[in-house]
Symmetry: C2
Subunit: 227 residues, 2 copies
Amino acid sequence: MARKAVVLLSGGLDSATALYWAKSQGYEVTALTVRYGQRHVREIAAARAISRRAGVSRMEVSLSLPWLKSSSLVDRKQELPAQAPGRIGKGPIPTTYVPGRNTVFLSLAVSLADAQGARAVVIGSNCQDYSGYPDCRPDFTRAFGTVARLGTRRGAQGRPICVLAPLERLDKKGIVRLAARLHVPLELTWSCYRGGLRPCGRCDSCLLRARGFKAAGRADPALERSP
Amino acid sequence: MARKAVVLLSGGLDSATALYWAKSQGYEVTALTVRYGQRHVREIAAARAISRRAGVSRMEVSLSLPWLKSSSLVDRKQELPAQAPGRIGKGPIPTTYVPGRNTVFLSLAVSLADAQGARAVVIGSNCQDYSGYPDCRPDFTRAFGTVARLGTRRGAQGRPICVLAPLERLDKKGIVRLAARLHVPLELTWSCYRGGLRPCGRCDSCLLRARGFKAAGRADPALERSP
């Protein structure tokens, strides 16, 4: 019987790469996508297309958490920050921070993994070249691994659920290179926070992505497709 | 400015006592109630009545997580276990275990606390006289405290969100006594897993509650009210 893993798939570059990494490790993958009112709801269509291309099953969950409106990634009335590329991740936590997002996402993934008998939960967090969110750091992910071990049926039975963040130590260049090696369909991924017809090229997410492709010496195929 | 706390309020004896405990500590409380398809949806009406009586604000969140159907507490087609009182919590994890429930609940509470600037999350877990769920144990709650400290804006700013389980070391007798001391409106609380018009008196939750009242030498006022 194949080892099962639940992969958190937003539809962006990082989570798509994490999904293909899990496949490459032989996991039977269920992708989990969460709607939480994100303004770039377009990423959900990307997640659907990526999981179809990867041939994995996918679950989608909708959360209606009114307090997430404190984030500019949810509240469309707020301006999205547009920083100088060199400043991203260096200042205070940006307004795009969604309170406890990865905590909630990982908890849903752990719940699904415990129900399915999956032995791993995979998240695309990375801590270099990122926006400075506290819930992307390796020590956070490790702490969640302890929660997953202690708070689940599987864990109590001595078969812990591992929380894996395979991109944790990579920068965007490294992620683009790994994605290319794993044949991730990069043209299907969506990173832009704005969620228009084409990537805006100005938000943190677009800037980090562009920097990664440039450093890896590759063109971004998502910029070339027709809207 | 009052210190804020988010209290997970299911509507049962334990969470109502945790809420009144938080009030007694001077916290400005927001009660958080989660609908997750529980068959005893009646507990939500209890949560509403309790928070109104306590004079605290309340938020309610609905989750639709199809995989929770693996639990007999969600899937109405499954039989609820009815064990001999002395056996509760001693055998394997019962079918009423909801995969990762407290992980998901705490994650929602931490997210809300981070958005509200609350410094504590309070849960009514207790590990004596309980049903044997892995996500009620003190080491689980402690591990979640680490997650809450590392994965939030508040934590990153050096103002961690604490996860408090004030009933952790109490048995049901102790909880009933504490509830009486704190003037918890016990007649409003709902513990029965079945969620009929009156408590069934046979499920684990009814049995544990009855044992607690008996040991504390008190009558259970919830059994006396008209349906």
